[in-house]
Amino acid sequence: MMLTGNYACAYGVKLSRAEVIPVYPITPQTHIMEKLADFVTHGELDAEFVSVESEHTALAVAIAAQATGARTFTATSGQGLVYMHENLFVASGMRLPIVMAIVNRALGAPNTIYPDLSDALDQRDTSWVQIYVENAQEAHDMIAQAYRIAEDERVLLPVAISFEGIIISHYMEPVELMDQDLLDQFLPTYQPRHVILHPDRVMSLGQILMDDSYYMEYRYQQQEGMNHALKVIPQVDEAFRQVFGRKYGGLFQTEQIEDAEVVLLTAGSLASTTRAVVHALRRDGMKIGLIKLRAFRPFPRQELREILNNIKCVAVLERDVSIGAGGIIHIELCHSLYGSENPPLLINYILGLGGRDITFDDISGIAQEVYQERNRESVDHPIRWFKVRGLT
């Protein structure tokens, strides 16, 4: 089927049998909402579709519904995501396996509907599992994987699947839909054993704790859930491959890194272009590889540390920035590699903000620049703003 990223995602939600769907429209996410409304109206999906009055309420409704025992889904972008920020902590603090699609959109001001991963990366401390995908097929498949990860009793944390607005959300690609019967086996009905609002099993969710009572223990248990996700994400990916024949690499996907001297590390749609560059430069004899980061939370600290041990230089190409610090993935990678025996040089390229087009030639140029620097002891200007007007 030819589908946009948004429609591919909506089909993933339908096949995953989401039961309560509260959403508020925001470009570039809105097509997900419209398609789901269409499915529900035409009886293709048995769900309660709630057109709410804000994103803050969208997530609050999802929280209440999931707490009552229904599988829920919501989707948002940019400003909508930061508007619901408060409730992200509530969802994870209650251990509710909500799944949300984040269609990345740069934050205002100035305002744009084009992408920047900063909206989602900004939610890094909310205790949501975060996975970034690179195309419509992966968006489709990962909705089902997301429910399986979130509802795993070792994890029980909400999961966000992120993909870039316009670039992935609005362009059509061939997508193979999951088979409903196979998916029903892969993803059984949500039957919570931990938290539930039910008159026969009285419990109070989101309690107020006074003094020093158990707040730290709640948080520590979330950390344990997140630690388990490091194992569960690849397991679910493998289980998915066995059923559907497609596999994405779990925490991150690697290509040609076995003998690589330089690795380009990126996330989202940039991975597709970077992959093509890596293949081309390999043909030219350059020892270069790709890491497509998929899981940002949990951050695969140890896993990356091991795999990057003998690499000379890693360039982090990212469509996001924490002003005053650098690329957000770069920062995470720095702390992951701190103290390792033979750490690679790290160079950070901040690029494509607000949807600025990043071409094959752009990434190829970056790769060659980095390749020349690979044998240095240290690098000048490790944080580089790429293709900024007025900057040479």
Binding site: E19, V20, P22, D46, A47, E48, V50, S51, V52, E53, S54, H56, T57, A60, V61, A62, I63, A64, A65, Q66, A67, T68, G69, A70, T72, E86, N87, V90, M94, T189, I196, L197, H198, P199, R201, V202, M203, S204, L205, G206, Q207, I208, L209, M210, S213
Partner: protein, 301 residues
């Protein structure tokens, strides 16, 4: 007069020993609400004095409850009722078991920070009963002004008295054309019980009940005077008891002759600095508002 102990269930779902201030209306309200609605009830509580009374371990309601955040308790009604519908459809919850879905919110969380959420749930006519516990200020954080604080009232953020008028939340809610809007007072238990029972027995839809709740701590009156102050509120016309069922307005518990507003104001330290002229202005406002409501009631028949 009927005996409350005969009308209400003996079962206590809201326990004594809660950390509310002595003389708080909220304890009375929570006890009555839970007794009327019974165990098959799911509640969403928002940040308010009631959250302290119901969500601080071990002071919990003996009904399932959830505290999401300050604003979105109406979203709790939306989410819980939507989930129950789909679970019943799919056979994961008994189809014929009726569960009351409710939210309890303060005046600040209902009418200020949560206004959009409340309006949204009402506009969608989501299925549940929303209780606004109106003690006329942010009492839980230490008596700061809210939209529902009355004009000329002292709070810790309106040291010389609030300049603006009280936001008329129940009438805003009535403008949403929901099946039921009612104002109640803890000084009038029979009226309170009748209206909550009515809301419980009505068909699906959004029911809004505004509970006038004198606060000894914030209003500055002795803690043994709560019921007296609540009654005076109605007897002076400061607070009007009414209900609107499917848009049809009915004023309730009308005193034969209104007492002067001074009788209400003088019981409370929060109006301590009012001049005679200000009291007169207040009296005129009260008379005007009451006349408007009476006209509205008369004009619809």
């Amino acid at each position: 007069m009927n005996n409350l102990s005969k009308e209400l269930s003996k079962e206590e779902l809201f326990h004594s020993g809660h950390p509310l201030c002595p003389g708080c209306s909220g304890g009375v309200m929570s006890r009555w609400i839970t007794k009327i609605l019974g165990k098959d009830t799911i509640a969403t509580i928002s940040a308010s004095c009631m959250a302290i009374a119901t969500s601080v371990y071990p002071h919990v309601l003996e009904i399932p409850s959830i505290y999401i955040a300050m604003a979105p308790s109406p979203a709790g009604i939306t989410g819980v009722s939507a989930a129950l519908r789909i679970l019943k459809r799919k056979g994961r919850f008994p189809k014929d078991r009726k569960v009351n879905v409710i939210a309890i919110s303060g005046d600040g969380s209902a009418g200020d920070i949560g206004m959009a959420c409340l309006s949204g749930a009402a506009e969608r006519n989501d299925d549940g009963i929303f209780f606004c516990f109106d003690n006329e200020a942010y009492m839980n954080t230490g008596i700061q002004r809210s939209g529902c604080t009355p004009e000329m009232s002292w709070t810790t953020s309106t040291l010389e008295g609030k300049q603006e008028r009280k936001k008329d939340l129940p009438r805003i809610m009535a403008a949403h054309n929901i099946p039921y809007v009612a104002t109640v007072s803890i000084g009038f238990p029979e009226d309170f019980i009748r209206k909550v029972t009515r809301a419980k027995e009505m068909g699906p839809g959004f029911k809004y009940i505004h509970v006038y709740s004198p606060c000894p701590t914030g209003w500055r009156f002795p803690e043994n005077k709560t019921i007296e102050v609540a009654r005076l509120g109605v007897e002076t016309g400061f607070w009007i008891l009414y209900e609107m069922e499917h848009g049809c307005l009915k004023l309730n518990c009308r005193p034969e002759k209104l007492r002067p507003i001074q009788d209400f104001i003088s019981t409370q330290g929060r109006f301590g600095k009012l001049s005679e002229e200000q009291v007169q202005t207040y009296q005129q406002e009260i008379d005007k508002r009451l006349k408007q409501m009476e006209n509205l009631e008369r004009c619809q028949t």
